[in-house]
Symmetry: C2
Subunit: 446 residues, 2 copies
């Protein structure tokens, strides 16, 4: 993409309404624009990151054998009356009346709708196990929306639902989700720690939240520092293996890690003192097993192997897709701007032309752009007639992990400069070497 043809409205001033760094940088980098309180337009750069995150979530869910579909944003109130949640949900539910006077709502979550789909189409245990998920916009009418996309009203979420014949099978689905979520967050460059949590209005016994450590997190968290040494890495997973998923579940949850809602001071004090940590965290996902709560209320039964109708065991599992942009920025930035992890960066590399209009510099930049595109990478070429300082500041603000700087002086020696946004370190090399290096860096992200 040529920056001269792109729509990247960066702001020089720090908007006064933004209280946290991710909100400030998303506004300043031209990623979002507030449409109303808690509702945002995703400008091109923000939309691009949102799509990359969505794509990673899809890939990891499909890898785990979960099946994508798409439920609508608006739901019938009647379904929520069946489960009893229409009256219970409170003012965060956006209630709507259509032209015929029918009660609807903007879905804050989808247990009722997915259970209705299930009970309409599945009648035998032979069709289980089944996990369906979607990534869809949801609405919660927060009384005080704030922190940008971190606590918006209209937000994008992945929510998945498993249907199983027995509790044991449903707990395997639970573990499968835990594993797939660990992979998902790691691909985004995030360490998200599963912590035993409180089930809240969805109900249920088993639930873990995934928290990213950040000073601006909304939750206080207590954990054994050994949990931060765990990484999922490149291990191959057989998602059908009950033992393998259970083993990873144990590995990542046996050490103490809890939010303030479930914190147990006595257990915490059993950790060696030097490993006890109290910090703040941002919730980026949650998994639940809630048994037959919805299947019984809504009649989602299958014929079991014994011929008898059996309510299915369910769980629901969510990832805050739009919120993740905020969480990633909170976890990865400096005083110049965002630092995108390679897995989610909107463009793989920025090209800065130090002397726009100079035939040699322009030609070298265009050659680099073409070579990068041909190698499957997605560069952003700053081809504006701007001072070098302004170009560098924009690149630092929008946070592309790599920058290639092209100028007449270097070109005389046949070199360009490749700079890491994270370390600030630069290295001179031939243009082809820079392309080769970037191909290597991004190999596992393409």
């Amino acid at each position: 993409m040529r920056l001269s043809r792109y729509f990247l409205p960066v702001l020089k001033e720090t908007p006064s309404e933004a209280q946290i760094v991710s909100h400030r940088y998303m506004l300043r980098a031209g990623m979002i624009k507030q449409a109303q309180a808690g509702i945002y337009s995703w400008l091109p750069l923000g939309f691009k990151v949102l799509k990359r995150i969505e794509q990673i979530v899809h890939e990891e869910q499909e890898r785990a054998g979960h099946i994508p579909l798409l439920m609508p944003t608006l739901q019938s109130a009647d379904l929520w009356r069946e489960s009893g949640r229409y009256d219970d949900y409170g003012e965060e539910m956006l209630r709507i009346t259509d032209r015929h006077g029918r009660d609807m709502l903007y879905g804050p979550t989808n247990e009722e709708l997915i259970t209705d789909i299930f009970r309409s189409h599945v009648s035998s245990y032979k069709d289980l196990p089944l996990t369906l998920y979607h990534i869809q916009w949801k609405f919660r009418d927060e009384v005080r929306p704030r922190f940008g996309v971190m606590r918006g009203r209209e937000f994008l979420m992945k929510d998945g639902y498993n249907f199983d014949l027995t509790k044991e099978a449903a707990l395997h689905a639970y573990n499968r989700h835990l594993v797939s979520y660990l992979r998902t967050y790691e691909r985004m460059g995030l360490q998200a720690i599963p912590m035993r949590a409180d089930s809240g209005p969805i109900g249920g016994d088993d639930t873990h939240e995934f928290l990213v450590l950040a000073d601006t997190g909304e939750s206080e968290v207590f954990y054994d520092s050994a949990v931060t040494d765990l990484t999922f890495g490149d291990r191959a997973i057989d998602y059908d293996s009950v033992e393998e998923c259970a083993g990873i579940m144990r590995e990542f949850t046996e050490k103490y890690a809890r939010t303030d809602e479930t914190h147990d001071e006595a257990k915490f004090n059993e950790i060696p003192e030097e490993r006890r940590r109290v910090a703040r965290g941002i919730e980026v996902g949650q998994i639940f097993y809630f048994g037959t709560k919805y299947s019984e209320a809504m009649g989602a039964t299958v014929q079991g192997p014994d011929g008898k109708p059996t309510p299915v065991h369910m769980g629901s599992h969510g990832i805050g897709v739009s919120r993740l942009l905020g969480a990633i920025i909170e976890a990865s930035h400096d005083d110049k701007g965002i630092i995108w992890p390679e897995g989610v960066t909107p463009f793989h590399v920025g090209i800065v032309n130090l002397k726009q209009g100079d035939a040699e510099a322009d030609g070298a930049c265009e050659g680099l752009e073409t070579a990068l595109i041909n190698a499957g990478l997605d560069p952003l070429y700053d081809d504006r007639k701007e001072r070098a300082g302004g170009k560098f500041a924009t690149m630092d603000l929008i946070g592309l992990p790599w920058r290639i700087t092209v100028g007449p002086r270097g070109l005389k020696n046949g070199v360009v400069e490749l700079t890491s946004r994270r370390t600030g370190e630069s290295e001179e090399m031939a243009p082809e070497a820079a392309v080769a290096r970037l191909v290597e860096i991004y190999a596992k992200h393409l």
Copy 2:
């Protein structure tokens, strides 16, 4: 994908509420499920086609230099008061009040919101031309929703908006959209004819609708049969070339083609009688140039080359993404089910195992599945223990363009059968030859 692990709830019975063939087949093929009147859940098969269509739209828009972003589904009533449309829009607008009593609405279109984004961030003619678009769910509270996704209330639409300094530049944007839409529809296997149309509530002078000929179309159309001979084909386009885009515009619109709204009997009668056609059509897109209507009402001006504030010339351009599924099925089906064009099919090929459980047949199917996936194709393997007749009926209903049938008898001779859904013709060949043939068929669609 293995069918035994997929969620494909096909129906044997024809649902009584479905009046047109696309609605019937989408329900029977397990593509959609009605959630409420005019609001659908997209079951896995339907969602997959929807994503393919969305992807084609994105690719062709980006090829034309148009920039994707994403505006929210809910909008502030205040913006619509500025344009004057809040009161004008009538009962099709779904009006919503939030917990603080603020008026909102579920966006039926986005002229106001995009104009607000533009005026907030663009102030100089140097930032023009600019075309922004998004693909987002919209809502129109139709009094009588019907025909499935063809006339739903919650529907997915691509809408794009161009901002230009002059009328001439805006008309180039108009032509660019016309060209990119022609390419888009052709990639989906559709012939969509641009017809001079009426501008309706959006306002404006220049507008064309794109119509797919189908007996169930909602519009009566009148055209010169010579327009159906036009194809876009593989021609390379320079979207920056004003002449090239204008030439294609002329080529595709100079022959008579109008809907009943703009039909001119006298002009129609100038066509040689044997080329006069009266038929029905389904609208799948529309392009508008409406000048400064919104930019003047909402103060979207830029500083012109003369230093004076100039309201920008705008147009808006839409493709009915979810509606396209219905239109494609209306245009491409037989009495056994859907016949997907290769460009949008949910799976590239179905594999039917005639003797599930037979080691040799199972092994051959698994080998084919792996070979197809390794070749970049997406097969659906029917590995259920069902009669061959049932498997064939399902494949015919869901409409995959190609089927490979694997049975012990063929395997003895080292062959499988490759069958075209469209022609019904089968050919025996070695499994590797079938894979190679499919790779060739899909080469231009991957």
